[in-house]
């Protein structure tokens, strides 16, 4: 299976980080929470019922992927969600899908031609 997409190394690295960060259910839940508004580490510890170091670890992964940022000017450094990387991941999947749909439409045509040939071949042998 082939991907004929042109991505720069930096671009694809960022996408890898985004997809990896999104692969974890707790991190997705944290993102969903941050989508409603910024929150500090302490704000997140309670509803998620996991330890502060565990939350911090998840936040670090999300930060590295560029999915969230922290406001270092404010006390307790609240985290907030960033839209761009998610949109990029989304667009990449859609491009990939479109690419394959073009190929598969051609494959549909080829298969129906193969079926017609098959029928003709069988009739000749009768």
């Amino acid at each position: 299976m082939v991907i004929l997409a042109v991505a720069t190394p930096a671009h694809s690295k960022r996408l890898d980080a985004t997809f990896a960060a999104l692969a974890d259910p707790t991190r997705r839940a944290i993102l969903a929470r941050l989508a409603k508004g910024e929150a500090t580490v302490n704000d997140l510890v309670k509803p998620f019922n996991i330890s502060q170091p565990a939350i911090s670890k998840h936040l670090k992964v999300l930060e590295r992927a560029g999915l969230i940022t922290k406001d270092i000017d404010k006390q307790r450094r609240p985290r907030r969600i960033e839209a761009a990387p998610m949109a990029e991941a989304n667009a990449w999947l859609e491009k990939y899908r479109e690419f394959w749909e073009v190929n598969y439409k051609r494959l549909d045509d080829l298969l129906s031609a193969m079926k017609t040939e098959d029928t003709i071949g069988r009739k000749k042998n009768e």
Binding site: M1, A17, D24, R28, Y96, W100, N103, D118
Partner: protein, 166 residues
Amino acid sequence: MSNSDLKVEARGESELVISRTFNAPSEMMFDAHTKPELVRQWLLGPDGWTMPVCEIDLRVGGKYRYVWKKDKTGDEMGMGGEFREVARPEKYVATEKFDQSWYPGGALSTTTFEDRGGTTYFQNVMQYESRAAREAVLASPMEEGLVVGYDRLEELLIANAQAAGE
């Protein structure tokens, strides 16, 4: 695009899964994926690309090689790999690596064809090689369904857009 059930999803840390139903028996689907004279008729990507090289040695340990060319510009792109498993008409597994790869390491591609009485449910799973991938395998049980579906991303985007609007 009309009436196709094509689905693409990023699964786990390093897999990409693509599936679709085709209106043909699995033998035909298998051949369309593994016979060079058939493959080069459809595996072309965007308009304007041709496939001057399509060599397939269909047996375990056998190699395959594809080269595409954009005739207008002369751009070329090549890739190849080796078959790890060949079981016509249900399945084949092969490694995959681009000549000028933009991601680290190679990938393992597993393609299955499930005959559903005249139609075939096709699925391809690409397993990419990376540290993130290894971490994922060690850290998270796949059966937990770590699925980043397109829907999930969209949900998050919508939630994000709403939050931004508040």
